[in-house]
Symmetry: D2
């Protein structure tokens, strides 16, 4: 344990990671560099500076990563209409590779030989942090205190604080919730507490980002979302930066009760776990992206994307953002998006979002052909006969030889 | 054209297919057998008898296929959580193979040498009817009047009626709608009219099966749906036949504004088309099926199903229900469903359906392992280190050799 | 038929396409532009000029497309280790998109409004030519004489020649074979004749490009093939252009009895057909490409490529080279190839090709870790326990709940 | 370590596993049950009895599992035309789940609470054994001596033998090879030694099961292989049991130099490793199985199988035979095989195997349609026009809107 000289810690400023600072100093006799990022979790990050200083930390990094997060991670992921297990929008998963990347950058800048984080040994986040770190800096060492120490209860943590003079008000307010929570610009998540019983309904006062559908306005809200190359760039004609736009969508969605999710998901480490999520802006964005793709993407490209998507979602969920296979899939996905331009009109109402209109200079919708009216020869209905006959040929030959289909 | 002696026609009793009866008699000089099925479209089928008799039809088949439709087609499809292009629940597509099957059975019973239908040459339904027919009876002939005749406008059709003494009240009431509609126990669809402009919002009075979310009750409705082997068998503890259950879900969904959909889809014949759908019961069923699977299915089985699903959906959409590849995929899907048993509690509210609880004797959710509390050794957090290290090994080797990931 | 003014014909100079020239002139009263390409079929293309002139053709295109063919079509395809139905190296399929592209370029240059080709209505080639043409020039008209005329036997063709004064020596020598043949730099194919009986063994004298394994030298030939970015660039240290390199591989393979194939394949138009192929160079190239990838590609990238490959092969076989979905897959494939550099040593012997050595500056093979000997701590065997334990967790939970696996 | 009372050891009778017997007895103070299986490795298994007895083992299991191995593992795998990474026939991988299954059966019979094996911590076999064991008996404990002890060199092992009076002639003859070898009825494998340098060609005297292609007979051998439901049942008309048949194919293949393979593969534990394999019978079987499928399988079924195969191969390679996802894929594969009946005629010659004929009562090859001659109307070439036109429609619409494909 003596050969670690300096460790970069993903530091929230909360109780747990403050304990980790001290524990690392004591256990490894090493210097600790703290890294605190604003990725839109909705809490001030600047207070982490004083707390770190109080713990004797000399190198303190506090970064606003919101734009990078949305531009380089969230939006590329939404280009694929990514959903894990049919439901989950990967709000936690997609933030981890960015944190891993910054941890390694800081390790390089500060000459640290290790990184550390506050994720437990049961969850996905440890995997995501560490796979990313190893992929970006193969010789890095990783210290995961929750897998090493024996402070595995709140009481032991508090006792440790006392013994090591760690001010208990380091405990952030959010930790008083009965739930384990995580938030960033894409979502907020809830686990633990009564959610550990999958039959129990989540309590209304758990949700923080959205009003309940019941409490949402009685009148729908309409917005128009504009896309360029698969990414949203403007709301109701107003161009915004990625983070600003997602924040605005979160407000619109939250106000209309949109984006709540309650699921049981399969973790990469092998267990099922119950999670509740609020992803207001992401839920709107997914619907809108599919709608703009519906008129601009070629059919076979769209289908291929749908077939690749579950794999892509698994990669991100499992922590393989920083992998050559994710990059390879991204190359295919991005190749499809140059034509995904245009506008989608959306109706937000009491928990649901509906695409009610879509238009694009790149539209492949051809009203002359699609029409139920006379199409003036744009489409020759007689072609359908040959189309069907040859598509049926293999089936007819088989049936002719007595093949059964049941 | 002279060698067709008897043709079985999928006959709705409406204007179009009544014209087809006469047109077949005149054009092919053949006998017409009519087949009218109740698949839950919500219209009486018995009146078709008198209409067919008036047209001189001697062999008239009127079948109630509702239970078979839901049991053998809808439910097997939902076992796969089937969605086409991320949105469409395949309400029209899944009814066609049943019609094709009955057409062929009746052709066999009556010694007919051809079948006929009223689908146009631009749509998917012609393909679905004909692929099914050819697959089940390879020597059958198919007459698709809309691809052959020149009655390609309402005016010409009406004129034909006049000239051939077809009573115009044959025109069913639903045809007075500006939309082309199709309905069965799973859904009702709308195409044409102003929908041909993808930017135009569907008018509120178009929708027939559901109240608008705005008009839905201000209080949520809770129901519990019970599954056995992947199929729903009871609502709130009351066992029902498949068709009864789906009908009940339709009522519950419709009353809560659930299941409206407005999309642009890619037809198999090569064009994009706008469609609006109401699938109230199916929307509830999909959500519930995913929820019961979330606690009973193995992770890798669930992921494999998700990866196969788009292909399976394409097969059904394109008309390949009666094909060996659909059967092969079904074998895999069905193999996964023996453990999909249990109950899902659902909240229906103003257009959205949420799974709020799920439980099962076959649950794989293991609260002892998943807990954030002390798990008494059920899970050894130290295992995670080796897990991550070996999963990272290939990435570390590559990074160690200088591979870049961006 | 009168509205075609000028048609570009893919003209081989042989009997069939010479008849087509005249038939087009007579039937459509249009001007015919001939296009003859050298894609390595092993016959002089220049004689086609005099033949076309004799038929009154004024615009005659004769192109040497060998380098473009190999560089832009064959090599990109081999980057994916492409095989159709587990056996076929797509020698015919991959030449068609290039022909389609040139036909359209020439149509643009000459102001033609149609293209024509000599492929029959039963085969894949008509599909490949026409899909490519439509994709590149949507308004183009296509004339496929074999689907239109009634010259469906050799006798009728000869009679037509007589009546229209077409010199019968236009019939190319290769047409005297009992087989229908096609050749280019990648392969030569044989269909028809006794091959129409799948139980009959192909006769030894059918094969033209390779000696029989029995007749091949009794000593193996060793070569070293060098790759850059997934493409072969040198043989035994000598750099060559793409076409030169493939030609050289064909010679080496042919002399060693390599690359014969005898299969029954599934055509896109719905029937099974027997084909025999000689692909000497391609067979060597495939083996070598897999070998260089085996040490340079990441595991998951390699597996993803293997899973995508059958789809990619189907696209090419079915004629969708010029499609957005092929381009999308190509983007993923090409993304993987920047690291596919290095050398493969191959043993060629009496019909088989074996990779006996492979090395690369980009190798991911890490002998320190892979060794059976003491690895000095490069790999911690204890990591394997956690790796296995967590990978087994879902299986153990399921088994603990009584799940059966048989 | 004290709580293990009885352990079932996969015991070869060789030096390594004999040391393990003693080490287990000493380290865990537990009883050891030995299990030795004949899976066709070509060595007597009965001598293991005396050796185990000499080590004080009281419960000794010696089983002939050859028929079960081929019938229930090898043949089901070949139904999928399974190849890992384009080359490897999974000869080692497919034997492990059977051993795991018997270890657990014996643990149940003898009341053992643990299993043990002699696989190292770097390889795939530990994973395959242990995943299987955990999946079949979730509470089982696993002892993997190579991951625990410090006997990590031949010298230390020999010293241990001396100190613990283990007769050194326990060392089996095969261990004198410079290679690490493994054999069963499907193949023999070689790793280590000079093979750890991927550029080095394997030495001729390494290979044990096959003559070199150079040394094989100068005359080809022809055989006919008969299939029922996808499995081979007879050679040249003589019905044989599965193990007998595979043994016979091994002899035929080996005598003709067939089935040698030299590859670098990607292990599940994250490293690349060089392996050489001889799979004479399997190589013949794969070729023959594809050939019989080529005339009996529907095209889309065949393509779906090809797309699923790499995933299925990975499952087996990685040790997930005993998993619900493997069973799910198997259900799909097996569903396809009921029609895979008939005969394939094969030519074996100096290292290569060629299918020269195939026939079946279930053939879908329709010579009336496939013929180049007049087909008497079996196929209407005009159908191809509509087929192409509609398949091209989406491409034409896109091109018409200016979409580029390059």
């Amino acid at each position: 344990m003596s050969d670690i000289k300096k460790v970069v810690l993903a530091y929230s400023g909360g109780l747990d990671t403050s304990v980790i600072v001290r524990w690392l100093q004591d256990t490894y006799g090493c210097e600790v560099v703290t890294f605190t990022a604003d990725i839109g979790q909705g809490e001030e990050v600047e207070p982490a500076r004083a707390k770190a200083e109080a713990l004797g930390v000399k190198e303190i990094y506090i970064d606003d990563l919101r734009e990078e997060f949305v531009r380089d991670f969230v939006f590329p992921m939404f280009r694929a209409n990514t959903i894990y297990e049919g439901e989950y929008l990967l709000g936690t998963s997609i933030a981890r590779p960015l944190i891993a990347k910054r941890l390694i950058e800081i390790a390089n800048e500060t000459g640290a030989d290790a990184i550390s984080h506050g994720a437990t040994g049961k969850g996905n986040d440890q995997v995501r942090f560490e796979l990313g770190a190893y992929a970006l800096m193969p010789g890095i060492q990783v210290i995961a205190p929750w897998r090493e120490w024996d402070l595995n209860s709140r009481e032991k943590l508090m006792k440790y604080c006392e013994e090591h003079s760690i001010p208990v008000d380091f405990s952030s307010s959010k930790k008083k919730s009965p739930y384990s929570m995580d938030a960033n610009l894409l979502h907020i998540s809830y686990e633990g507490g009564i959610l550990e019983e999958p039959w129990a309904e989540a309590e209304e006062d758990m949700w923080r980002w959205s009003v309940s559908p019941e409490a949402a306005p009685d009148q729908p809200t309409y917005i128009t979302l504009q896309f360029e190359k698969g990414d949203p760039v403007a709301i109701d004609g107003e161009r915004m930066s990625p983070a600003t736009l997602l924040e605005k969508l979160n407000k619109l969605g939250g106000a209309n009760g949109i984006g709540r999710l309650d699921i049981v998901e399969n973790r990469y480490v092998g267990m099922k776990s119950r999670g509740c999520y609020e992803t207001p802006g992401g839920t709107i964005l997914l619907k809108a992206h599919r709608a703009i793709e519906s008129i601009t993407l070629d059919r076979e490209v769209a289908h291929l994307k749908d077939e690749l998507m579950p794999r892509y979602a698994q990669l991100i969920y499992n922590g393989y953002w920083w992998s050559p296979e994710r990059r390879m899939l991204q190359a295919a996905i991005d190749d499809s998006q140059s034509v995904v331009n245009g506008e989608v009109r959306l109706k937000l109402y009491k928990g649901s979002v509906t695409a009610v209109g879509r238009r694009s200079a790149d539209s492949l919708f051809d009203e002359r052909i699609a029409t139920f009216e006379d199409d003036a020869g744009a489409y020759d209905q007689k072609d359908a006969e040959g189309f069907i006959k040859l598509n049926a040929l293999r089936l007819r030959i088989a049936a002719g030889k007595g093949r059964e289909l049941t």
